[in-house]
Symmetry: C2
């Protein structure tokens, strides 16, 4: 078998393990999940899991890193696409809500299992979270400076805007009353009200 085919098979196995880990962590929490649970959900032995990942914590770290980087990327893309703070905030909150509803299982693990990360990994993930917060703060401050927004405390406003989006991962369910698109549209509108646009 060629090296490329080997690589791609290893990649497939790794992503199957990550998916199984997301499901297990979301259902039973990090501490309530065993490597055996993850391995068997991915159709392999615990020994085979260790060939691909050093530990259960490493799986959590990879899930967490992917999730945070995706969130940061979608915010930066939305902000870069326009000069208008109103349009930018509308798009950021829309896309953030879409990401946290469509991917609610992963987003739940990403946001509620931080305490289970190793100290080194936690520092790295907190760094990405800090950048996410900074993007939102800078956007709100920019809107205030240009007169597009009106709010006393841009920092707390930014915290509340992120909070609204993150909490979607907790309460959103696929069989609920609203589609991710409906929520994204309404939340974008609420965000503009919150900043006094």
């Amino acid at each position: 078998m060629s090296e490329t085919a080997d690589m791609s098979r290893a990649e497939t196995t790794r992503s199957r393990l990550l998916e199984a880990a997301v499901q297990a962590f979301a259902e039973k929490g990090f501490h309530g999940t065993t490597t055996r649970d993850i391995a068997s959900a991915a159709g392999m032995s615990p020994a085979a899991l260790y060939v691909h990942h050093k530990s259960k914590e490493e799986l959590l770290y990879l899930i967490s890193k992917d999730g945070h980087e995706a969130t940061l990327a979608l915010m930066r893309a939305a902000i870069a696409a326009t000069d208008s703070p109103v349009e930018a905030l509308h798009q950021v909150v829309h896309d953030f809500a879409l990401h946290h509803t469509r991917g609610h299982t992963g987003a739940r693990v990403v946001n509620y299992e931080l305490a289970a990360l190793s100290p080194e990994h936690l520092i790295e993930i907190r760094g990405i979270r800090h950048q996410i917060e900074e993007e939102m703060r800078a956007l709100v401050q920019h809107g205030v400076k240009t007169g597009a927004f009106d709010t006393d405390d841009p920092y707390m406003t930014a915290a509340a805007l992120l909070s609204l989006g993150i909490d979607l991962a907790r309460w959103y369910h696929d069989s609920g009353r609203w589609s991710p698109e409906q929520i994204a549209d309404q939340y974008a509108g609420m965000a503009l009200r919150i900043v006094g646009a």
Copy 2:
């Protein structure tokens, strides 16, 4: 020793166990916590714990019941205190935010460990959550009907208002930038903007 003194000693022990359980569940999650952890944090043996509580799940249920009932009570008190939907919403969101910041450790357990409840207990707790949601919906709908508020979708608006308050339990820390009172005031103001008051 009198029966009353026995009762009160049992009560003290029970509340010490509940406090120890809140701390342990908030730190390590329900599934990551053993009855031994809880017993030793309360300064007693696992066997002594079972004298007072049937199981770890029963402790979670009592914590959850207390927390949800306290939230429902503060909402009803705030709503009953005025005829004005604006004043009522301001007070509800203010008190809800205060409750979820000051009591963030307990609120975290109450909101993020529902899946660990027994099926019967989950039904009971969901019943109280449903009443909490109904109070917020009725308040937003009342405001829309009287022309005090202006929002397309009172149901989703109510969900977002509760979401903002609940997520405080996730991110609020005692050593943070803002006091519970500062957050409560700002959040009450944001809530009025969200409903278009």
